[in-house]
Symmetry: C2
Subunit: 219 residues, 2 copies
DNA sequence: GTTTTCATTTTGAGTGTTCAAAATATAGGG
DNA sequence: CCCTATATTTTGAACACTCAAAATGAAAAC
């Protein structure tokens, strides 16, 4: 049975792989996102290779093998179903569920997970708008782009919020920047690194490019 | 933050302390119930002492200090609330919840636990009939005796089932030996190590002393 | 009061994960 | 083509937990 350390590594490597759309993940990104020193990531990569989860190519990075990809997707499923449970059933705030799910994902069994899935009505997205992989390990690919790249006058729908940082999530909710909400880009000032937007039925406000980058939308 | 190993040790030591009504717990009982070698239990005891959870007296055993007792009670609360959730909300069978709770108890945060407690309506007993300690660390003392010691003709109410073994729990449920059920001792054959009983409204059947010992009742 | 038995402790070692700091490789800029 | 900045790897050590097997202590049996 893989340890929770192994599960965290594989889930994170999977996320980076998907985000970059690039099979090979350099060690630096891994050590940074898991908050371990680079040497630790390297030595873990060798262990993970020995156990058959991935391929490790020195000075290039790692690439998931089918087993590693499958386990990564499974942990992602657990994580996102648990987040959904914490918000939908227990009423926690979406800014505090990530850390909770980060622990619970390693303790919940397959059996309990499936019961939870039934109980929740087999949701397809977590509270942040991220797709929940199926039991079979299929996750729908989203072809959404970031709000930061949207032109003036465009109307878009929020797909997901791509940041787990508490304060950003609190800000987003306070501005009604939630998955499913419709927003219009009123103006865009390249030099100011900011744009003015309006969430449907709300007051317009401006948002910096840095923040807008974390909001994924579909046209 | 105490590791899940520490949590398991303290919870188990607390349970043995309560069961034996004896402050000092010999190492043999610890190593057996946690399924580790005696040497492991001894070395762990020294660590736990160094961290202030308990007192270790060589060749006598360990006794919980207030901090250890408090953490033990807290883990017990988590365990039993989770068991209740698994049965009441997710519909798992009471024979399979112990192992699940054994893992989840280390991953659930205080905040999520309290939400769960609310959600469940602040239950006072888990599915096996065991009392759930309060947030403040108070657990109601049960003065129940075992079915095995009950005399012929007596009518009693089942308080709890004191065994986590799957097959025994399945048997118990199949015979309606559940917390709250009223049973009458029809006869008792000392030499046969067995007694005949009837659960209210059901057919009489006989049960060995070994099994009857695991059923706690109140008169 | 010695011997036997049993519980417990000690010893030495191994696993998985981690870090700090030194060593090394590689890619680009000069 | 060399040099330097940056990413990565290596090295050596530590921590928490575990086991097997040998040593020891204390209680029970004789
Ligand atoms: Mn995690
Ligand atoms: Mn999420
Ligand atoms: Mn446990
Ligand atoms: Mn129970």
């Amino acid at each position: 049975m893989p340890s929770s350390t192994v599960e965290n590594y594989l889930k994170q490597i999977l996320l980076i792989t998907l985000e970059r759309e690039e099979k090979v993940v350099p060690m630096g990104l891994i050590s940074e996102s898991l908050d371990v020193t680079p040497g630790t990531a390297t030595s873990m990569a060798k262990n993970l290779e020995k156990e058959g989860w991935l391929c490790y190519e020195p000075r290039r990075g790692v690439s998931l093998k089918p087993a590693g990809r499958k386990l990564g997707l499974n942990i992602l499923r657990r994580h996102r179903l648990l987040e959904t449970f914490l918000v939908e059933t227990l009423g926690l705030d979406w800014s505090e569920i990530h850390e909770e799910a980060e622990e619970l994902e390693h303790a919940i069994s397959e059996k309990v997970l499936e019961r939870l899935d039934d109980f929740l009505g087999r949701p397809r997205h977590d509270p942040h708008g991220h797709p929940i992989p199926t039991k079979g390990g299929v996750m729908q690919r989203k072809k959404s782009r970031s709000l930061v790249g949207c032109k003036e006058g465009l109307s878009v729908v929020i797909e997901s919020i791509d940041d787990q940082e508490r304060n950003f999530l609190k800000f987003a909710r306070s501005r009604h920047l939630l998955p499913g909400k419709k927003i219009k880009i009123l103006s865009r000032e390249e030099e100011a690194d900011a744009m003015e937007i309006r969430v449907e039925g709300k007051m317009p406000f401006s948002i910096g490019f840095e923040a807008a980058r974390k909001i994924l939308v579909s046209v």
